[in-house]
Point group: C2
Chain length 294, copies 2
């Protein structure tokens, strides 16, 4: 049976816009039957490579045939409200599905994890993305990847960490950020607009000056790293506001919209959970963005 | 050779954002070789049906096999700055391509034309859309269409006319607008934001009170007709501003974004000129919107 986009969209919408255990598990359950199960045919997976000293400084590389080379690289940074999430949830297709989607489209797929709050606080997430990018640049050729073609995809808190990395020069090397582009899914860019919540406090602390300094909003408007922003229909209103604000400011600054995808029938979780399923919602736009970025 | 989206996008971008003869003809020429030529295999075309008394009150119906019934109907309203444009440009694939795209996806495709400024002025375009919709509702069943499933797609000035029809109750019948949904491509909704230009003056005259009354902005925020908004990367900045403003106001009113598609690598013309070519940019979203609208 072909995939019925609108039937899935109805089920997703029925889960509401709140990010809560029921909607997270509900979304995961909707897409789980549509995903591949291990072992993944024709894919080589090298897990738990260390890109730093902390136990969460680890990444999994999904790659294809031996001897391939020069492939674009997609480095995925998971979400989890700064305090949770992982590159691989045991017994579940997530987030293997993101790296698998990449391999199935001729890319090298890499899932990284990073230190969590409250043990690690801002800007630890951005530092960890920087360390992972540096590691990938040094090692990805031996897996068939092109070190000059690293794209970083972050969702939710992961998008915040990617935005932090992109906008803070002290996290870059002498050649700049050293990535070909970044894709920011349902991120938070202007922290002051978000209502105070325990996850933010865990990561940023409670000093309002830190929130001001940690905001990536102005930096994103100025960066030379090619960006693509993504928002979903069922994102909580606070995230929809973030997307609107960055586009408004981008238009005011550049006289045009940024590269932007609005995903109907998707929520804060399904924007990545659907990747590598028969639901092609974001895949085409991701591939076009990467292939079209010099 | 498979269609190369990014190669086409580069050619489109090279035409700039101005709507001028060179960019119009340039866009038309880029997609022309990718389009079907008459006669269109397996498609029945009934041209120049009269939906009113004026010589431009005419429409072309593209339909499929005899005996089919209950198909969704797509009624296309062309652009042309209020003073030009037609349903069919002789010797060219446009705008047959839009109705053909519809038929090739199981819909009934209808192209209408309408009276032009300065002979006909506001709200003649909205009146003509209303008359065409009424005609289609009365006659489309005999071509295989479902009268309760009429979607209206307008681009540029055509989007303005569709928006006028959707938002002005005096143009509706006792059952309301009588359409299942509307798709507005690169439209103008808040007239006061547009710089004064000869085409607007031709259609609206020069009384600022008319511009105020003719604005569809507030009405679009309140209508119960399902809407999808579309904007392209290379739309002139004034059109990009219109899209941004309507989304801002929609978010303020409804706490969420409207259904919205931002088309990378496309311009004000290619958003419809690419339909029925191997470039699938807007097609999937159009079909999903229609199929998902009750």
């Amino acid at each position: 049976m072909p995939f019925d986009f609108n039937d899935m969209a109805r089920r997703i919408r029925a889960l509401g816009t709140q990010i809560a255990p029921a909607s997270i598990e509900g979304t995961a359950a909707l897409y789980a039957p549509l995903h591949e199960r291990e072992p993944y045919e024709g894919v080589r997976v090298t897990r738990d490579l260390r890109y730093g000293e902390h136990q969460r400084h680890r990444l999994d590389i999904f790659h294809g045939a031996r001897g391939a080379h020069g492939a674009d690289v997609l480095l995925f940074v998971h979400g989890g409200g700064f305090v949770g999430g992982d590159k691989k949830n045991p017994g579940s297709p997530y987030n293997d599905n993101v790296a698998l989607w990449a391999v199935r489209h001729g890319l090298i797929g890499i899932n990284m994890t990073y230190r969590l709050a409250p043990q690690a606080q801002w800007p630890s997430g951005g530092q960890d993305v920087a360390a992972a990018v540096a590691w990938v640049r040094d090692h990805v050729a031996q897996y068939g990847g092109e070190p000059r073609r690293i794209f970083v995809l972050g969702t939710s808190a992961g998008a915040v960490h990617v935005a932090t990395f992109v906008t803070r020069g002290e996290l870059h090397g002498p050649q700049g950020a050293g990535i070909a582009g970044a894709i920011l899914l349902s991120g938070i860019y202007k922290l002051a607009l978000m209502p105070s919540n325990p996850m933010h406090t865990a990561y940023y602390g409670s000093d309002p000056r830190v929130l001001e300094r940690a905001s990536t909003f102005d930096g994103l408007l100025e960066t030379r790293v090619p960006l693509m922003f993504v928002l979903t229909e069922m994102d909580p209103a606070d995230f929809q506001r973030q997307g609107l604000e960055i586009i408004q400011a981008w238009f005011a600054r550049h006289g045009r919209w940024p590269r932007f995808v609005h995903m109907p029938g998707h929520n804060h979780l399904s924007s990545t959970m659907h990747l590598n399923s028969p639901d092609g919602s974001l895949g085409v736009q991701l591939l076009e963005f990467m292939a079209g970025t010099p």
